[in-house]
């Protein structure tokens, strides 16, 4: 059964594209295209009139057909680029359904593309991330993976691991023949290298994720340091209540802003101090929770505060009335706006390290978890190597690591390893 859906965003737009995919797509569409030029053997792209059941023309559209397997979904596929009037779109969909198709579920075109082997899993995920991405940079990462960027990088990591396994397997499976020198040294180097690369992948995931779903930045500091003032200054609207009374901000206030195209969820908090007031205590606790989950903390006027594992910037505020007695990363005045632009740059730069390896942008949580597990096992392998424990256990851990990388791309088989063994070593008996 063919599936149908409008693949451009809903609402009035210049041109909309309706897609119909499936074995019967051609026949289906031919029922409402006047003098249909469509056929099952050859792709066609032509301007046609669309007609309703009474034979009445209701739109002029470009009808393009793709023949299986040479289409996005791998099935027969027809794209109708019609005028973007919601009434026209729903008419086309109705006519198609009447002719025997059904409404596509979310992501079903991509799912079919995956099932038909047109996309590998990482590419399919990339499509999803393009669709859901919040920023331009996020879209770019998605598109890069769509072209196989991620797969390529993972392949290269994988193939160096396979060569290590081949080394070790050779050693395990061959007893008499002269062993290759420096077998283990080479393995050690490759393993360390892999750890570095996977670490970079993980870092890049965090950054890609920020581009796609926004980074969380939390403002912290003692009461009256000027947190709410800075918050307002950054969002350029009065959102937070600014008062001289300590502890006014008890709830966390959030607002989305954008620095250099990077979506940021900015959060103003109660401030950090000992407090007897129960309500305020809760506020302080919440500040802590927010801080621990943040991608970055902006800490005002407290040189000694920071959270383990969370990036931070120590900012001195109120530079218009006093100067810092200690060294801060930057001095600003939230009230006058002095140096706030510079602060934004500092925020952006601390979120996006220039070491970002943009070739290996991970775009889904699943990929991220796979890489994390791969990294864990390769690290285990490294400790076994250092401890000179059994070589077969070492192989076991590296193979596990490869297995997790496989879940992102294609499967490695035992033959890949044996091929590597046979091509590099003389396996005599």
């Amino acid at each position: 059964m063919a599936i149908v859906a409008c693949s451009t965003p809903p609402g009035v737009s210049g041109i909309a594209v309706v897609r119909i995919s499936g074995e019967d797509a051609i026949k289906n569409v031919s029922t409402f295209v006047k003098d249909s030029p469509l056929n099952k053997t050859r792709p066609v792209s032509k301007v046609c009139f669309l007609v309703d059941k009474d034979g009445e023309v209701f739109d002029e559209a470009i009808v393009t057909s793709y023949i299986s397997p040479n289409s996005y979904t791998g099935e027969n596929l027809v794209e109708i680029s019609c005028h973007g009037n919601p009434k026209i779109i729903s008419k086309i969909i109705d006519l198609s359904v009447d002719a025997g198709s059904r409404l596509a579920e979310a992501g079903e075109f991509t799912k079919n593309a995956f099932l038909n082997g047109k996309l590998d899993l990482s590419e399919a995920e990339a499509v999803a991330s393009v669709i859901h991405s919040l920023s331009l940079a996020g879209v770019k990462a998605g598109i890069k993976n769509l072209r196989g960027g991620l797969s390529k990088e993972i392949y290269s990591i994988k193939s160096s691991l396979i060569s290590v396994v081949a080394n070790l397997e050779f050693n395990l499976d061959i007893s008499e023949e002269d062993l290759q020198p420096n077998l283990l040294n080479n393995s050690e180097k490759t393993i360390l290298d892999t750890i570095k690369k996977l670490d970079a992948c993980i870092l890049s995931f965090k950054e890609t994720k920020m581009f796609q779903s926004g980074a969380s930045v939390v403002i912290l500091g003692p009461p009256n340091a000027g947190k709410s003032t800075l918050f307002n200054c950054l969002v350029s609207k009065d959102q937070s209540i600014v008062t001289d009374v300590e502890g006014t901000t008890r709830d966390v206030i959030e607002k989305s802003i954008n620095i250099n195209g990077l979506p940021i969820l900015l959060k103003d908090t109660a401030g950090i101090r000992e407090s007897g007031d129960d309500v305020e205590k809760i506020g302080v606790e919440r500040s802590f929770i927010e801080a621990k989950d943040a991608d970055l903390t902006i800490i005002l006027n407290d040189r000694n505060l920071s959270f383990e594992g969370v990036k931070h910037i120590h900012v001195f505020n109120k530079s218009d009335i006093k100067s810092p007695d200690e060294k801060y990363d930057i001095s600003i005045s939230a009230k006058t706006g002095k140096n706030v632009k510079e602060l934004k740059e500092v925020v952006y730069n601390s979120l996006i390290s220039d070491k970002t390896n943009t070739d290996t942008l991970l775009t889904s949580k699943r990929q991220y978890n796979a890489i994390k597990s791969a990294l864990k096992h390769i690290k285990d392998a490294y400790s076994l190597l250092i401890a000179e424990d059994s070589m077969e256990l070492l192989v076991e851990d590296i193979n596990r690591s490869i297995g997790f990388l496989d879940s992102i791309t294609k499967k490695t088989t035992k033959d890949d390893v044996l091929d590597a063994v046979f091509s590099s070593f003389c396996v005599g008996k």
Partner: protein
């Protein structure tokens, strides 16, 4: 006049390592069995090197032994030297290997067959009698016919065998033995496809022509353990082998004469193995190696005939001799027989089910080199399974199928039926993803239950092994349940450079540290339930230690196995029509149609099949209309 034979239930064609196992086990299971072989005197012959076991192969011999096979037992009786290989590496790859007396092995095999009362007929099978896709009998070259309901074909290297020595070619199944003709064509006419493979063997030289002082002597282990659980009082001779080395002069002569060799893989003919390559291949492909090792092995006790391990070749005899003479110690070497390569027909094993029965012809089983493998142990492994399953076929019992996590034998057969063979298949430990579980030391634990179920071993051996297994389990439990005191262990831990303990700790936890061994636990006899005074005490302690040391890894593997079990049990109907699945790529569809996987698990393991192919397959298998359509 047509000679008539008695009727048999099962005819096994070929008295090599596969055929012997198949015939003996079927006979033991009460099947009326006949072994037909071309030459009665060559039954049980070891065609190539004088050794049984070795890496991965030793594990298989032990598995075959628990399954009621005989190879390990014969080898034990004819051992010249026994050694466990890979001792310096992890214990799952420790592999027993025996240097054997080839003549004695043959003699013992033939005597044993006679003693067991298995009927042997000298003759050459030339075709099968098949009716309605079912085996009905075997025709012999003399025109006679043997009626039977099942056949195991184990023709080894004999089908249209062609020997190459340089440019010389001889029709033969083995040096000095006639080749077999007819079976290939007979199977072809039943729709079975064959290919051609080749393998080589090194020259045999005269002992008296070698300057032995120039070689390095290698002996076996001090207290070797036998390959078979049935062997008692194993104390083999310890005859040495000697290693010599090739040099650049050797290599230059070979390189200058490559064009005369049939084994040099650059040539366009049947494919040979990439492992165990000919000396031509070694020298050409691995020119960075300045020298290769040659092991000189006696072929029988005090034999004048010496096997030059590492020098497989099919160069002209003259060149073989000339190049060997450049090796220090072999300056005056004389040949008994030159090295040669043999080319032969094999049948693509993807045409078999995991029982080793043909998918197309019911009652036809195949085992050994005819399935594209090489090696005695690989042959014997298939032989035992084919023999058991042929008997199950006749008795109408459920067949025996071993999984990849049960045994190397399981890995072997699974690989054979699912992978495209384009070189002779040999087992490696790296082919087994569950290698850590498939140890030579636990073959009994892995397979005894199955063995009992099919009645493959004698009562006495079963009893002894059950006791050993139970005691091992008790020992493991003891180590897991009991603490060791700092006082008892700390001194030892310090000696080993390990951190001492402050509080009493579980023995198993301490034992998991790489350098600690079970003897460090200082377990007293009376502490455990009678374990230590028992049969195979050393083996029990070793095995318990291994189980504990590997438990982390093995538990993880078991979880994995559980996860994929669903797929292993998901059966693809025999008549499933892959043409129905339009969304499969042509390549994958073709593979599915050719191989006809029996389960989704098998489908997953076919080379080149992508996860997406499996997703599609699953979608179709779950569609109710499809199931109806099949019925």
């Amino acid at each position: 006049m047509k000679r008539t034979h008695n009727k048999y239930d099962l005819v096994v064609v070929g008295g090599g390592h596969a055929g012997i196992e198949a015939a003996l086990i079927a006979h033991k299971r009460g099947i009326k069995t006949l072994l037909v072989s071309m030459d009665k005197k060559s039954v049980g012959r070891t065609s190539c090197n004088p050794a049984v076991g070795g890496l991965a192969k030793g594990q298989m011999v032990k598995e075959v032994d628990v399954l009621g096979g005989i190879m390990g037992f014969f080898a034990d009786l004819s051992t010249l030297q026994s050694k466990t290989l890979n001792k310096s590496k992890g214990r799952s790859v420790w592999s027993p290997r025996s240097q054997i007396d080839k003549n004695l092995y043959e003699k013992i095999a033939q005597k044993y067959i006679k003693e067991q009362g298995l009927k042997v007929l000298e003759g050459e099978a030339v075709s099968l009698k098949v009716k309605k896709d079912c085996v009905r009998g075997v025709f012999l070259k003399d025109g006679s016919e043997i009626t039977c309901s099942a056949v195991v074909l184990t023709c080894g290297t004999f089908l249209n065998g062609l020997i190459h020595i340089g440019s010389k070619q001889i029709n033969a199944g083995r040096y000095g033995e006639k080749r077999a003709e007819g079976i290939t064509e007979s199977l072809n006419s039943l729709g079975l496809k064959n290919g051609r493979l080749k393998t080589g063997t090194p020259p045999r030289i005269k002992k008296s022509s070698v300057d032995w002082k120039k070689g390095e002597a290698g002996y076996g282990d001090k207290n070797p353990s036998p390959l078979s659980y049935r062997t008692k009082n194993f104390s083999p001779k310890d005859e040495p082998c000697y290693s010599f080395r090739t040099n650049s002069n050797t290599h230059n002569i070979i390189l200058d004469n490559l064009s005369s060799s049939a084994m040099y893989s650059g040539k366009d003919m049947a494919t040979g193995p990439r492992y165990c390559p000919s000396i031509e291949d070694k020298v050409y492909k691995f020119n960075q190696n300045p020298s290769h090792v040659l092991q000189l092995e006696p072929e029988w006790s005090m034999s004048e005939q010496i096997y030059v391990n590492g020098f497989s070749t099919s160069l002209e005899e003259k060149i073989q001799l000339e190049s060997l003479k450049t090796v220090s110690g072999l300056e005056n070497v004389e040949f008994i027989r030159p090295g040669y390569a043999i080319e032969y027909d094999f049948f693509y094993p993807s045409q078999l089910k995991n029982t080793l029965e043909s998918k197309a012809v019911s009652g036809l089983f195949m085992a050994g080199q005819i399935n594209g493998t090489s090696g005695y142990e690989e042959a014997s492994s298939q032989g035992i399974i084919a023999g058991i399953n042929a008997s199950c076929f006749i008795l109408n019992e459920n067949p025996l199928v071993l999984k990849r996590n049960d045994a190397y034998v399981g890995v072997l057969i699974d690989d054979l039926i699912l992978k495209d063979t384009n070189e002779p298949y040999r087992m490696f430990t790296s082919r087994a993803e569950y290698r850590l579980q498939l140890r030579s030391s636990n073959a009994d634990q892995r397979l005894l239950t199955k063995s009992r179920e099919y009645g493959l071993l004698d009562e006495q051996t079963v009893e002894k092994l059950s006791e050993k297994i139970e005691n091992t389990i008790n020992m493991v439990r003891f180590l897991e349940d009991n603490n060791i005191n700092p006082k008892t262990i700390n001194k030892r831990l310090e000696e080993l450079g390990e951190k001492p303990i402050k509080e009493p700790a579980r023995m198993s936890n301490i034992l998991k540290r790489p350098k600690v061994s079970i003897s460090d636990m200082k377990i007293k006899n009376n502490e455990t339930k009678s374990v230590l005074t028992n049969y195979m005490k050393e083996e029990i302690l070793f095995e318990a230690e291994t189980i504990i040391k590997y438990s982390g890894y093995i538990n993880r593997q078991k979880e994995e196995i559980d996860k994929i079990k669903v797929y292993e049990n998901m059966i693809i109907p025999e008549k499933f029509d892959y043409n129905d699945i339009k969304s499969l790529s042509n390549e994958s569809r073709e593979k599915f149609i050719n191989i006809k996987p029996q389960t989704v698990g098998q489908a997953q393991r076919i080379n080149g099949i992508r996860p997406s192919d499996i997703s599609i397959l699953l979608v179709y298998l779950k569609r109710p209309f499809h199931v109806k359509q099949i019925k």
